[in-house]
């Protein structure tokens, strides 16, 4: 066979780049599907965040305690990007807890708390606020208030001037667990509403299966009785994160199904 001149691929590659993505049907559909996924996920998260946000906006501002708990919420934005920096003191224990829980319990333990019955006033936090860090030294006490003021075990202590952030050393301890229970219950209800196996795709089934498994492990860890408040709060937050992702996937699948699309890319058609 003849050998072509060198550099042919470079020419073709540049031509491909200059013509953007190849005009493949699958490429266009996947771009559209990605846009729909992001839009649907944003819509779902906005719905999920609206109720607590509304309560937070409408509640009397117990400035110190309310804003101190806002420090817990920012962790979520970092969780989403996977850039979470964990408290090294807690993280190995949490990992061990989850692993132990997986061995101890095979069925997830779900704690159901009536969503609307928990007092949120003074305790509610905006779900997706800008990070508002609490001074670590001032918020670290033995009580759960300190846990609320800092993202429990999920972020390293951040030394922030009290003048730029709102946490104050002497805060009234606030238990974040009821709020977490409520949020978790809301998300579970949303997942139950959004889930429809008739519109599930292969990719979606894999994603939801993995998220269900992750929630199961977290529930198993939560079933252990010797958890500290900080560990329990951290696990509940992880549960909420997983439920949010699950709600996003389930909602997106239903959205795509309504548009005649699927979460999977187009498959090869065989004539």
């Amino acid at each position: 066979m003849e050998s072509p001149p060198a550099g042919g691929w470079a020419v073709v590659s540049r031509s491909l780049a200059s013509h953007a993505a190849p005009s493949s049907i699958v490429g266009r559909r996947e771009q559209r599907a990605n846009w729909l996924i992001w839009t649907a996920s944003a819509a779902v998260l906005a719905v999920v965040a609206w109720a607590p946000l509304e309560r937070w906006l409408g509640a009397p501002q117990d400035t110190v305690s309310a804003k101190s708990t806002a420090a817990a919420a920012p962790a979520r934005s970092e969780r989403d990007t996977g850039a979470r920096a964990k408290d090294p003191a807690d993280q190995p224990m949490l990992t061990d807890r989850i692993e132990n829980g997986a061995r101890v319990a095979s069925t997830p333990v779900t704690t159901k708390v009536p969503a609307a019955s928990l007092p949120i006033a003074g305790d509610a936090t905006p779900k997706r606020p800008k990070p508002a860090r609490a001074p670590a030294s001032s918020s670290r006490t033995a009580s759960s208030a300190t846990v609320a003021a800092t993202p429990e075990g999920l972020q390293p202590p951040i030394d922030v001037s009290p003048s730029t952030n709102t946490a104050v050393a002497a805060t009234t301890p606030v238990d974040p667990l009821p709020r977490l229970y409520a949020e978790s219950a809301q998300l579970e209800a949303l997942v139950a509403l959004a889930r429809d196996d008739r519109v599930a795709s292969a990719s979606g089934a894999v994603l939801t299966g993995e998220l269900d498994a992750r929630i199961g492990l977290i529930d198993a860890a939560l079933s252990q009785s010797d958890l500290s408040p900080a560990q329990r709060s951290a696990l509940w937050r992880q549960r909420i994160d997983a439920l949010r992702e699950l709600a996003g996937v389930e909602s997106t699948e239903r959205w795509l199904a309504a548009q005649g699309e699927r979460l999977d890319g187009a498959l090869v058609r065989v004539d």
């Binding site: 066979m1 003849e2 050998s3 072509p4 001149p5 042919g8 691929w9 020419v11 073709v12 590659s13 031509s15 491909l16 013509h19 993505a21 190849p22 005009s23 493949s24 049907i25 699958v26 490429g27 996947e30 890319g265 090869v268 058609r269 065989v270 004539d271």
Partner: protein, 201 residues
């Protein structure tokens, strides 16, 4: 036994899926696998390295750009080869060289099944001899012998009849054998070629 085309490379479905998804690494792998068969085909049909390089680029750009249209009902290499053949023949047409073939005579049913002489085993000598043939004749020879196209398929590609393809094959084979047996282009063959091409110009 039908000839084995140099294009007959089994492309895994996973690689095709990655290419359809627009993965650049998959594109490059397909390009590397098929660049020599495409270039060789373009050389055999066009006879010119620069043109063959252009045919290679045009072919691969079309293949990679339209890979989403490949539906998997036939081997991928067959689909790619068809694009390459079309590109090479289109270039011949654009340069008005598609009329350059060995003149037909009135001998019908001119099939030549005799094997090529041993000199054909010398790839370089074979290439030189092929280049001595008119472009169309060379194309018919290559498509038939090397790529396994039937006369009907060749006729469709060249917008001619199957009889034309058979005649070109017969005459081309005889001319090629003569070139190889004489150890190179004889003065007679050169003169004959020049006369034929001048007639069709």
């Amino acid at each position: 036994m039908p000839p084995t085309s140099s294009f007959a490379i089994d492309v895994p479905d996973a690689l095709l899926a990655r290419a359809r998804a627009g993965e650049r690494a998959a594109f490059e792998q397909l390009y590397r696998w098929f660049e020599r068969p495409v270039f060789t085909l373009a050389m055999r049909i066009g006879g010119d390295r620069e043109e063959a390089a252009e045919v290679l680029q045009d072919t691969m750009l079309k293949v990679l750009g339209r890979i989403g249209e490949f539906r998997g009902g036939s081997p991928f290499w067959g689909w790619l080869r068809q694009i390459a053949v079309n590109e090479a023949l289109m270039r011949l047409r654009s340069r008005r060289r598609l009329g350059h073939e060995i003149a037909l005579d009135d001998e019908p049913g001119l099939e030549d099944h005799a094997p090529l002489p041993p000199a054909a085993a010398d790839a370089a000598q074979l290439q030189r001899a092929l280049l001595e043939l008119p472009a169309v004749t060379r194309s018919v020879l290559w498509l038939y012998h090397a790529e396994g196209y039937t006369h009907e398929e060749i006729a469709a590609l060249m917008q001619r009849t199957a009889s034309f393809s058979k005649s070109q094959l017969a005459r081309g084979s005889r001319r090629l054998r003569l070139l190889l047996e004489t150890g190179g282009p004889s003065a007679t063959a050169k003169a004959a070629n020049t006369k034929l091409e001048a007639n069709h110009a």
